[in-house]
């Protein structure tokens, strides 16, 4: 029950908020036209509360193949949907192209009976579907050491989850009539690099979306406006942004961004041929690295789980560094190929401990610990710093002073 003083504080805060809004409305009169337009737009497109408007992406570590890396603040978010403006970004193409959707066209051709060009208006007339899917960079979760490895945002913030709306790629391919010798598609964007990816036809005919909307509004430019491929459960490098061409072919093309620039090497130096699906994964987002518990007592442990295998069926949480696990509650409904929120009640006794989570998916695949993954591949745990598709269990250590830190290599 809220105490009297709590309520008074709330009313005071509410009053401040109300006067802010009224002030904004009043100030619309007697402003310069430019200023008036800005004020009007701030009202027309709602903004976060001025009391709670610090949730931001941060610059993650850019890699040899990306110029900009912006990571999603997983520790600050609730539920399963990532607000569009907080979706992670890995720039592989030297900047976001400026595309006028009226001029944008999608060409579908290659091994089809009838090649077709679609305008955006035509695509929006076709039967649409909305699906909640995560997109995860294949370089997410690398066990980064040092200051960059201290928060869930830096280490795991290259995964985001949106409701995507668009046309099933299978519908477009059926309209064109895929020829029976075809076995792959090559998808191309209209960015400066004309970013290109090969995808097996079986996946294209199954559940790939050609999306024009993200969380109810047009896909954001950083996410591929006006059109992007969304390939459920697969490494996000396949989900081609600014999509402008689909060619139906009979072999993988091994374009630069899927071979030389993204090939994952294994300990013997060989490159891994197309892998596609991300493994079962989970991470506790609160409490997580860099946060501080104010004192002993009750906390809800919460986090996200996801898998390229379909639906998350179980998340277990350990509050004793992995010696024992108990099942967490999963937010319902659980969507296939979507972030799944888990919650677990916990009372902290003020002692040092390690919190971690483990995901199991509908195929029965289980998230390994770093030690288990290293043992399987015959590598030292450090190897995963350079590995893609890493999905090891993430331990967070709670110290006596309440501070939380990454315990992967402690």
């Amino acid at each position: 029950m809220a105490s009297h003083s709590d309520r008074r504080r709330f009313l005071k805060r509410g009053g401040a908020l109300a006067s802010f809004v009224i002030g904004t409305v009043r100030s619309l009169r007697g402003q310069t036209p430019a200023r008036e337009a800005i004020l009007k737009d701030n009202l027309a497109y709602g903004q976060p509360s001025p009391f709670d408007n610090t949730i931001r992406r941060t610059l993650g570590q850019a890699t040899a193949i990306s110029d900009t890396a912006l990571t999603t603040p997983l520790q600050d978010l609730d539920g399963i949907i990532t607000p569009s403006g907080l979706h992670f970004l890995m720039d592989h193409v030297k900047g976001v192209p400026d595309i006028d959707s009226k001029q944008h066209r999608l060409l579908v051709h290659g091994m089809v009976d009838h090649p077709l060009i679609y305008t955006m208006d035509e695509l929006k007339r076709l039967p649409s579907v909305s699906r909640i899917y995560f997109l995860e960079c294949n370089a997410n979760n690398r066990p980064i050491r040092g200051p960059n490895g201290e928060s869930v945002q830096n280490v795991h913030g290259r995964t985001s989850c949106s409701e995507w709306t668009g046309v099933l790629l299978s519908a477009l391919l059926n309209e064109c009539g895929v020829q029976k010798e075809a076995s792959w598609i090559v998808a191309e964007g209209s960015d400066a690099n004309k970013y290109t990816m090969s995808i097996p036809l079986a996946k294209a005919m199954d559940d790939i979306l050609v999306a024009y909307a993200q969380n109810g509004e047009p896909v954001r430019p950083q996410q591929g406006y006006p059109l992007r491929l969304v390939v459920p459960g697969w490494e996000a490098i396949r989900s081609v942004k600014w999509l402008s061409r689909i060619k139906v072919v009979d072999q993988p093309y091994m374009a630069w961004h899927e071979s030389g620039n993204n090939a994952d090497t294994i300990p013997n130096g060989k490159g891994l041929w197309y892998r596609f699906e991300v493994g079962p994964n989970s991470v506790i987002t609160r409490p997580s690295g860099g946060q501080r518990l104010p004192g002993r007592g009750f906390y809800e442990i919460t986090g996200l789980a996801w898998t390229g295998g379909g639906a998350v069926t179980k998340v277990e949480v350990s509050v004793d560094g992995g010696r024992s696990y108990k099942e967490a509650a999963l937010q319902q409904p659980v969507h296939r190929f979507a972030h799944t929120r888990f919650r677990f009640p916990w009372a902290w006794n003020g002692e040092e401990t390690v919190l971690q989570s483990r995901c199991t998916d509908e195929r029965g695949e289980v998230q390994p610990t770093v030690a288990e993954a290293a043992k399987n591949l015959g590598v030292p745990p450090d190897y995963f710093y350079q590995a893609d598709h890493f999905n090891g269990v993430q331990p967070w250590k709670v110290n006596r002073d309440g501070s939380v830190q990454n315990a992967l290599f402690l």
Binding site: P115, W256, A263, I266, N268, G279, P368, L377
Partner: protein
């Protein structure tokens, strides 16, 4: 009755008109591209090189083009420097770990130079220039000789040192199948 048959006739005429403009099988939306429209946009090159255009070039010619159009970013000798990136190493025949450098086909190199280079004006190189620049990159990586001529026939035959260094993560695994524990990375 007469009214409905008129309507039917109108629907038939409208459908025929729509079909003439659009070829989509079920929804009759979208338009049919011309051969020329497809040809201009169809730039992806397959490993067998069947889409490669006429033209040719050698590493020697490529060195001149490199100095004019590539050195500003990749450095005068392809070594990079400052913010620039050097010529990317295309890998080594020995199975050693070289991140971001395993290229199985020479067509991949041609395709990327053609679609994305130079960064200031992607897609502006002529076919001859792309053959020559590709030859220069392959020569600097010790894959071909300085005098080798690359064209639509010879380029797909260049054997990249890493051609056989790509292996499946789990032999026989197909998307959608369960994988052994711990073999996702």
């Amino acid at each position: 009755m007469r009214y409905s048959s008129n309507l039917l006739a109108a629907v038939i005429i409208l459908s025929a008109w729509a079909a003439a403009l659009a070829q989509g099988r079920t929804y009759q939306l979208g338009t049919t591209p011309t051969e020329e429209e497809i040809k201009t946009r169809d730039i992806a090159i397959s490993p067998d090189g069947k889409e490669l255009p006429p033209g040719s070039g050698t590493a020697k010619e490529g060195a001149t083009i490199f100095a004019q159009k590539c050195a500003a970013c990749h450095g005068p000798n392809g070594n990079g420097g400052g913010l620039a990136r050097g010529i990317v190493p295309l890998g080594n025949a020995k199975p050693v770990k070289i991140g971001f450098s395993l290229v199985p086909y020479a067509t991949t190199v041609w395709d990327f130079i053609n679609r994305a280079m130079p960064q200031s004006k992607p897609g502006s190189l002529t076919a001859d220039e792309v053959y020559a620049a590709t030859a220069y990159v392959l020569y600097r990586n010790e894959v071909i000789k300085e005098t080798d001529v690359l064209d639509a026939k010879s380029l797909p035959k260049v054997r990249m040192p890493n051609r056989d260094n790509f292996i499946p993560a789990q032999p026989g695994w197909k998307p959608g199948e369960k994988r052994p524990f711990g073999y996702y990375p």
